[in-house]
Assembly symmetry: C2
Homo-oligomer: 341 residues x 2
DNA sequence: CTGAAAGCGCTTACAG
DNA sequence: CTGAAAGCGCTTACAG
């Protein structure tokens, strides 16, 4: 049988209350007593039962997810997954609130962070826009003792507790390798479209992509990045214009969202069938495009995994339990038509 | 505040014991009383606190993992992950025992299953060898009320509770697409090596591979499958012999383990550098081969995810709680040099 | 068929 | 600085 606080109390010759004080490092216990209790803990190999502790404490958690609003299908999926994970987490007394924030707007995100009631909120997960205001707001949260994890898009390491998302430089490199190899030695230009060069994930993917094309596929040439605002209509418009002007484009990398716009353009002109196309996120549109051969590969991250991971990490940070890194690593997933889930 | 059994008892005008009887569908309660309690549960939206219930029950779980012994690096990793996951699960009163069984030996696996003490074991996870004896042993376990999940390699659907692993036909298709596309239109033959055609995962991968090569890359031709027993030495030997005899091999698919043997052969002969090579599982050897360009892609499954998933599923089966399918889906992961974790 | 009381492994006021 | 007792939300004998 696993030892309990009772056994520790008995072995150390103290009361339950004192064992509890020592276990939870509460003040007001004599050094000698602390030592006796700790010796007993070590001797018995006592590990406290967190479930019982939480039950006694009636501890509950309230996590807020700040997710960009708008039509971005991936963000809507992330929102759904957060709600879904929250439904299950309710059994462990954790409550999830999902709050929308305007996309690509550091000032608005900072305002949303500042508006959080630090007494009522125990942790925050946010899809970050990288800006000075956001960094300052995160610093304030940190000072208030509230853990924050960035989701999908990060801000430089300093005042967030954890980043839950993929390595976007590596994702860009992966896209480049796939396009380069699938092109099979043909020479030509590659069109690039991002949502905005203000979000770190898009900037990083572009960097990674460039690195690999330059070093390994010098017969390919990247056009300047178009900005589609992660919006299907804008993305479609700028892409159509670009393809109309540039005749020797043989590949296309959609760094951001707006896959519907890309698909529209590709499916309207049979000449575009031969383009090697890589895009991000396994949305219903992307799946269809993959199945129909319009897209050659999709690089994805699992929104459900990210939502659950954010919750587990915030909880571990608060409880002081270790984070299982292997479980929390978000993979750069590659999908071809053949391994669609 | 969430309602508790107390609130339900009060609302239904019965005692705690009776609420408990109804919640756990124990016999010996009048129909009318059951109805009153259930009405109260529905009205209050009561959901029982599993942690508290398990605490009161002092419920503990004992799961046995049956994993093939031998030098197969992936199986050793799976074993480690099971032990690791078990260490964490100990906090939730679940104890994991890992027992080795001889590989590719249905009779031995069936004997190991039959030898389990059905009173002391609450669930079983096994890497299945597909044979009649194993199916019968699983049927006996099922009759004893012990849930069993198959891990990595399945047996046909009938007497196991769940399969934790990838879709191996799709994995084979994926391998074929990668080799076909990376070959870039060249024509030639593809060498195939499996561990054994007695384990279902290898058979299925081969089927999927064949399907795609025949239908989409008719200029490529599959050689008969070699068997390497998932062993580096044997794999290297049969592969070397095959490559020496067949001059027009341009691609290689290692369906099973024994990657070290493949790497040895490839690195000894510079002429083999141009082969398009796809293998399975992200072992240290495979990582190195990918980094050095000896392998072009690796198809993998996450052993840590599988171990944790098996534990969660067995626990849910026993507790009668729902399985979160999204969380338990094991992905067919594709790794290139660029997205190595 | 139903209920009062004790207990699971912790924590929390309240006394002293 | 330390302890006795009650309580968290359930379940389990034991009575009746």
């Amino acid at each position: 049988m696993r030892p309990t606080v009772r056994d520790v109390a008995e072995a150390a010759g103290v009361s339950l209350a004192t064992v509890d004080r020592v276990l939870n490092r509460r003040a007001g216990v004599r050094e000698a007593t602390i030592a006796r209790v700790e010796a007993a803990v070590a001797r018995l190999g006592f590990v406290r039962d967190l479930a019982a502790a939480n039950l006694a404490k009636q501890r509950s958690y309230r996590f807020v997810f700040l997710i960009p609003s708008g039509p971005n299908t991936f963000m809507r999926a992330l929102e759904q997954q957060a709600i879904e994970a929250g439904r299950r987490a309710a059994l462990d007394r954790v409550e999830i609130e999902v709050a929308p924030v305007p996309p690509f707007d550091g000032a608005a995100l900072a305002r949303a962070l500042d508006a959080l009631d630090t007494r009522a909120v125990s942790g925050v997960a946010l899809v970050a826009t990288d800006s000075a205001e956001v960094r300052e707001a995160l610093t304030r949260l940190h000072q208030a003792g509230i853990p924050a994890v960035t989701l999908v898009s990060d801000v430089p390491a300093f005042r967030r507790s954890h980043y839950v998302g993929i390595d976007n430089v590596a994702a860009g490199r992966t896209a480049a390798s796939l396009i380069g190899r699938f092109a099979g030695g043909r020479r030509g230009r590659i069109a690039l479209i991002a949502g905005s060069m203000l979000v770190r994930d898009h900037v990083e993917r572009r960097m990674g992509f460039d690195q690999v094309i330059r070093s390994e596929f010098p017969h390919l040439d990247c056009l300047p990045v178009l900005e589609g605002r992660d919006d299907a209509e804008t993305t479609g418009r700028v892409l159509a214009a670009c393809l109309a002007e540039e005749p020797d484009v043989i590949g296309l990398y959609n760094i951001g969202a707006g896959n519907r716009g890309v698909i529209d353009v590709l499916s309207r002109n049979p000449a575009y069938r031969d383009l090697v196309v890589v895009a991000h996120e396994l949305t219903p549109h992307a799946r269809r495009a993959l199945r129909e051969g319009l897209f050659d590969a999709v690089i994805a991250q699992d929104a459900g995994h990210e939502a659950r991971s954010a919750i587990r990490i915030l909880k571990a940070l608060i409880d002081g339990t270790p984070v299982v890194e292997g479980q929390e690593h978000i993979r750069i997933e590659i999908y071809l038509r053949d391994n669609l889930p």
